[in-house]
């Protein structure tokens, strides 16, 4: 599994045009890869650039201000940044598909769900309509929607939140994509429904070998799902490693802060949670040097001036910090 990257992002920079100044850099020099059958979780707080990373992969950045300033997005070797508009449309929903936090805003309220799924298949595979609706039914069955024949004719508002997310997953997987981008897919759902959806994504991935890029702010979801973890802060990767490496030995002060700040079941209760002072800096007010330095208890004068490079820590574990992990640095 270690050397079969389906999606490889290299040096991605996503930026937004501002009035007259230089563009604001939302994602800065980000590289990662996702292998077949693997789940990579990108974790971070609001405004860290994790959603924009997924939108950049599919070139869905808000126009006209958002754009990819540099880097490559290689889908099985083909650079999606360079392909034509018709080509990227062909990729979206077929080779790479995406599910969002709020399925209601991504479903068409005036079309029944069977038609919406069948249309995806029709557009990408050009099968006869009957074959497309057959596939829609098969997909509803696969995402374990009860009474799929009846549901086929229902409209989004007739479904519960969990059911809608199942429909989104059915639609996303209808053309058997090689990569599934899931942006906070369970954040709006109740915890028992979240468990159902996470189990479903995991089962379907096992059956299809789809590579999953799962974006979340919830370390619990990461612990459930991730093979590998990428931690982002203020647009940059600050740490990456296998799930075991990150949870056994969180190394970057931000990762450690996140772990300590999250109350979890069976944790020490009643005591104080670890706080990270301050807030994530705004896009137009990112500090010089290491973005995390103003909130970091380990920061030295160097951290405020010079951004730390990613360095190999141990195994596949990389960390961008001047103060930790030097011992193992090559």
């Amino acid at each position: 599994m270690a050397s079969d990257p389906v999606l490889r992002v290299e040096g991605l920079r996503t930026e937004f045009a501002t009035g007259d100044g230089p563009p604001a850099v939302a994602v800065n020099d980000l590289s990662f890869e996702v292998n077949r059958g693997e789940t990579l979780c990108i974790v971070g707080e609001s405004g860290c650039g994790k959603s924009l990373t997924a939108l950049s992969v599919l070139r869905l950045l808000p126009r006209p201000y958002g754009r990819i300033g540099a880097g490559r997005v290689l889908l099985e070797g083909r650079d999606l940044v360079q392909v034509s508009d018709p080509e990227i449309r062909e990729v979206r929903g077929r080779a790479v598909s995406m599910i969002f936090q709020e399925p209601m805003t991504s479903l068409n309220p005036v079309l029944n769900i069977g038609r919406q799924i069948a249309e995806t298949v029709m557009v990408h595979e050009g099968l006869p309509w009957q074959a497309c609706t057959d596939r829609a039914l098969e997909m509803l069955r696969q995402v374990r929607i009860p009474e799929p024949e009846r549901r086929l004719h229902e409209y989004p508002h007739q479904l519960s939140g969990g059911m809608r997310q199942r429909v989104m997953i059915a639609m996303a997987l209808a053309c058997r994509p090689r990569v599934l981008l899931a942006d906070e897919p369970t954040t709006a759902l109740d915890v028992t429904i979240q468990a159902q959806i996470l189990d479903l994504i995991r089962d379907l991935q096992r059956e299809t070998g789809t590579a999953v890029l799962l974006i979340t702010h919830d370390l619990g979801v990461v612990a459930e799902m991730a093979d590998r973890v990428l931690v982002m802060y203020a647009g940059s990767k600050v740490e990456e490693g296998t799930a075991a490496e990150i949870f056994d030995a969180p190394t970057h002060p931000y990762t450690r802060g996140l772990m300590g700040a999250m109350p979890h079941l069976g944790g020490a209760h009643g005591g104080r949670l670890a706080e990270i002072p301050g807030v994530v800096p705004a896009l137009n007010a990112r500090p010089k040097g290491c973005s995390f330095a103003p909130r970091c208890s380990l920061a030295t004068s160097r951290c405020h001036v010079e951004a730390p490079p990613l360095r190999s820590f141990a195994g596949s574990h990389t960390v961008a910090c001047w103060e930790v992990g030097q011992g193992a640095a090559a």
């Binding site: 707080e45 939140g161 979240q194 612990a223 109350p263 079941l265 944790g267």
Partner: protein, 327 residues
């Protein structure tokens, strides 16, 4: 903490809404948002109220405050029944019971400065001179961790966490004994959420505050609560001290909720029995035990007879025919 003297006592609280219906209200139905909920909170105690969307937990908070009028039931605040108080008397009792909302932005007047927002309750109740009020505002700002110069800022100039601090300062202005938090940290990022949880726990220590903490995040609730009540479709299905509820849950729904919470370490991943289906509609709740449609251990009796909440000697209450310990 003194659980012997309840600061807030709620008995058989019911809130039904009329919904739907056509011309002249024919065919209107009752939505049973809260259907007979009882609990009490001692001084300096936090009762966590958890459950999934639509279980009625937020409505309980609002009905206790009488922000929505309860259909029936009794709310006793510091020994006084406030359920039938007139609006003037009720307003006065609000000094003793305040609320913090999930989204502070929508509950802060965008045209008032932060200082004015915190001062407003003092003006409304005519407490102290203007100079004394300003001193108290300064004190409150310092206490919740806002800078003195931020008094002149408007709500939009604050981050989410700072706005929640502002909401807390306003709630504290009148020196209440009870604070009802309706998902007060759910909209915040993890690092900021920890700051606000710590602040709420510090303030509780300092002022002996009692909290009704309404939330859906079980990790947060376990952290902050002394006792926890679990709601399902308008009813409390289990209520117990924190350790009892999280370590030895008795109601099958509580078990399912806890099993569904994501693990905290990849090595703790396990195959689990996931609750199937969705929560039924509170308009036509299932007969008998409301959980029986999704319950893995339901028997015939559960489909007909509604289980009462049976509380044992340790204060652990369970509404389940099969799991309640009869004394």
């Amino acid at each position: 903490m003194n659980a012997q003297i309840p600061v807030l006592e709620v008995r058989d609280l019911v809130k039904h809404y009329s919904v739907g219906g056509g011309f002249f209200g024919r065919g209107r139905k009752q939505l049973r948002a809260v259907d007979g909920v009882s609990f009490s909170i001692g001084q300096g105690e936090t009762l966590g109220l958890v459950g999934e969307s639509g279980c009625g937990k937020s409505t309980v908070g609002k009905a206790v405050l009488r922000l929505v009028e309860p259909t029936s039931g009794q709310v006793t605040l510091e020994g006084e029944d406030i359920t039938s108080l007139g609006s003037a008397a009720l307003l006065d009792r609000r000094k003793r019971m305040q609320v913090i909302f999930q989204d502070p932005y929508s509950s802060l007047n965008p045209r008032m400065t932060a200082g004015e927002i915190v001062q407003e309750p003092l003006i409304n109740f005519g407490i102290g001179s203007r100079a004394e009020q300003r001193d108290r505002v300064a004190l409150l700002f310092a206490r919740v961790g806002l800078r003195p110069d931020q008094r002149a800022n408007y709500p939009h100039e604050f981050s989410g966490g700072q706005r929640q601090r502002l909401g807390i300062a306003r709630a504290l202005a009148l020196g209440p004994s009870v604070i009802i938090g309706d998902e007060p940290v759910s909209a915040l990022d993890v690092s900021v959420q920890a700051q606000v949880i710590n602040l709420m726990m510090d303030l509780q220590q300092e002022f002996g505050l009692s909290y009704l903490f309404v939330a859906h995040d079980l990790g947060v609730v376990e952290h902050i609560s002394h006792r926890v009540a679990v709601m399902y479709l308008g009813k409390i299905v289990e209520i117990a001290a924190r350790a009892a509820l999280f370590e030895t849950p008795r109601h099958p729904y509580t078990e399912a909720l806890l099993a569904a919470v994501p693990v905290s370490h990849p090595r703790a991943r396990r195959a689990r029995t996931v609750l199937t289906g969705d929560v039924p509609s509170p308009i036509n709740p299932p007969p008998g035990c409301r959980f029986h449609t999704r319950c893995p251990i339901a028997v015939a009796r559960c489909r007909q007879e509604e289980p009462p909440l049976v509380v044992d000697a340790s204060g652990h209450g369970v509404a389940c025919h099969l799991r309640a310990t009869t004394l």
